[in-house]
């Protein structure tokens, strides 16, 4: 479980992006972080694994304070996929192998290679393994970056808009895969996502950010027309289709 207590963050002398945030993110859920542009969704994700160091507050992962946790240990617990992935000029296999970095002492082991091959297969990337990442499309690169995060074999997965470059078919495939991983491996997935329909379809917890704070956090029942209007400032209608909620702007 991730426990956040009194977390605040601001960029330089700008107003606080996150102001005294507290919450408990339970194990084994797929949690969507939602809110307007600039609401602090990505900042929250970065503060959880100390990519950004919060000015106030603390984050506890399974009871361990991230302020005093060595980075290498934290990398074994939390994997992170940033919003903008940089394609370094490496082969896909080596790019995914980088996910084993927290476990590598001097050189890679056979187990590391086995894990990478398994993840590549899981994401249908095996045939790309000898291609250079700089030659991939945006969507393919996004899958490689997710594969690297999966190769970290961490309990927590932080994904910042992981489907932004994917076509609708691959978008659904990837989110279905993320959902399966969360359920089968009891991983906690925290995912920043803009598409409310995808969020309600693949996530089971929802964290709405507004005015530098948590507006609401809970299960599917909190995704109401009122919440969406309050957070996004737009009127919507929520329809039911085959037990799925569909959010339609009015």
């Amino acid at each position: 479980m991730i426990r956040v207590e009194g977390l605040s963050y601001s960029y330089g002398s700008s107003p606080k992006v996150l102001d005294n945030i507290s919450c408990q993110l339970e194990q084994g859920h797929c949690i969507a972080v939602l809110g307007n542009n600039g609401a602090g969704k990505s900042t929250l994700l970065k503060c959880l694994n100390r990519v950004l160091v919060p000015q106030e507050g603390e984050v506890l992962i399974d009871g361990d304070d991230t302020n005093i946790m060595p980075r290498r240990e934290m990398a074994k617990k939390i994997a992170y996929v940033p919003q903008r992935s940089i394609a370094s000029h490496t082969m896909v296999f080596d790019a995914v192998l980088l996910g084993r970095k927290p476990y590598i002492n001097w050189d890679v082991t056979e187990e590391d290679r086995r894990i990478v091959q398994r993840v590549l297969k899981q994401l249908n990337l095996s045939e790309y393994s000898t291609r250079y990442t700089s030659e991939l499309s945006g969507g393919e690169l996004q899958k490689v970056v997710l594969a690297r995060a999966l190769a970290q074999e961490s309990d927590y997965l932080l994904l910042d808009e992981p489907t932004s470059n994917l076509d609708p078919h691959n978008k659904h495939n990837m989110l279905r895969l993320i959902q399966d991983i969360s359920i089968e491996q009891n991983k906690t997935v925290i995912i920043v996502i803009h598409d409310l329909n995808l969020a309600v379809r693949y996530c089971d917890r929802f964290l709405f950010l507004k005015d530098s704070n948590i507006y609401r956090y809970g299960g599917c029942e909190i995704v109401t027309t009122q919440t969406i209007e309050d957070v996004y400032g737009m009127k919507v209608e929520i329809l039911e289709h085959r037990e799925n909620k569909i959010i339609v702007p009015c």
């Binding site: 694994n49 934290m74 992170y80 370094s88 000029h89 490496t90 996910g99 970095k101 700089s134 970056v145």
Partner: protein, 342 residues
């Protein structure tokens, strides 16, 4: 494939090295070279090989390797493909330091003005020390800027390096303006770059510094590969990016400053060699560090051998040769659309 590239480059270094030992104003056959290396030749041959050519070759390989490895690491930690000792002002700082040592601290005299030699620096250690101090000063300023002005970015640091280069070049010009003829000759000769000036003792110093830096860089090879995927990714993979950047920059700059301090200004090796090898091994620093080292050694050795032989017995300054070879090579890499301009 990546290992094969490194092995081929090593074989090329060996081949050019052997050719370089055998060639010069006194040509030796391959058989004579081998006999001399195993101590079964004439005293004259031994003097030429061990006293003149081998130190020069060793200095070329070591300095080239050091500058290339430092360039590869700086390009990674600064996220800037143009980073190298020369673009960050280290070389120009060292050049100013050398000029100061020669003109102000009385480190240099000129015995003769001919192109074939005879320009001597009468207290090389003052000149070397001064070059090292000012080469390092450049790094210190760049790092302080990074420390107190975080939002400067890697592009800003390179611009700071350009500004410092300009400042040090201006300082060197002023010193040359006020220098007498003998001092002026010594300053100009130093800035040409001269691999023949390094003795075995100096080569040993460069070797120790280079090996120490190389071990540190190799120890962090996974961290550098992670850094190539962006600072955020590197942090999430357990890399302490700030510490890695600061320590790598200090070690890289000091290694480059030590190399340049002993043999004079040598441009482009730190920039070109890593980009050349990236074409073959990518951004995988497990291979890029050793590959850059071998390529840097090969480039500088080739440039120096070329400079020695092209209009022998006159020896052309190696600094000019590296610029002549390096600039077109760099432009060619740019024309091919390599990953230099992202």
């Amino acid at each position: 494939m990546k290992r094969i590239v490194i092995v081929i480059a090593c074989i090329l270094v060996l081949a050019v090295g052997l050719f370089s030992v055998a060639s010069g104003s006194m040509d030796l056959t391959f058989r004579e070279v081998v006999q001399t290396l195993f101590g079964k030749s004439t005293v004259q041959n031994e003097l030429v090989v061990f006293g003149v050519r081998l130190p020069r070759i060793a200095a070329s390989i070591l300095v080239g390797a050091a500058l290339a490895v430092c360039g590869a690491v700086m390009q990674c930690v600064l996220h800037n493909p143009l980073a190298s000792a020369s673009t960050l002002g280290v070389s120009q700082g060292a050049g100013f330091g050398a000029a100061l040592g020669i003109v102000v601290f009385g480190g240099g005299v000129v015995s003769s003005g001919s192109a074939n030699v005879a320009i001597e620096i009468n207290n090389p250690y003052i000149v070397t020390f001064s070059a090292f101090v000012f080469g390092s000063l450049s790094t210190l300023v760049v790092l302080l800027l990074f420390r107190f002005k975080r939002n400067l970015g890697s592009g800003g640091l390179i611009l700071a390096g350009v500004a410092l280069s300009s400042l040090f070049t201006g300082g060197s010009t002023l010193l040359q303006y006020f220098a007498d003829e003998t001092q002026l000759g010594a300053v100009v000769f130093w800035t040409f770059g001269n691999l023949g000036s390094a003795s075995w003792t100096e080569i040993a110093i460069i070797a120790v510094v280079f090996i120490a830096a190389f071990v540190y860089f190799m120890f962090n090879r996974w961290n550098y590969t992670a850094m190539c995927s962006g600072t955020e990714t590197a942090k999430s993979l357990g890399v302490n990016t700030t510490t890695l950047m600061l320590v790598s920059m200090v070690i890289g700059s000091l290694t480059a400053a030590v190399s340049v301090a002993f043999v004079g200004i040598i441009n482009f090796i730190g920039l070109v060699a890593p980009h050349m090898m990236r074409k073959f091994v990518g951004d995988d620093y497990r291979f890029l560090i050793p590959a850059s080292a071998v390529a840097g050694g090969l480039l500088l050795l080739t440039a120096d051998t070329f400079g020695r032989l092209i209009i022998a017995p006159v020896i052309l300054p190696v600094g000019a040769i590296t610029s002549f070879l390096g600039a077109p090579l760099f432009l060619w890499l740019l024309m091919r659309g390599d990953k230099i301009n992202d």
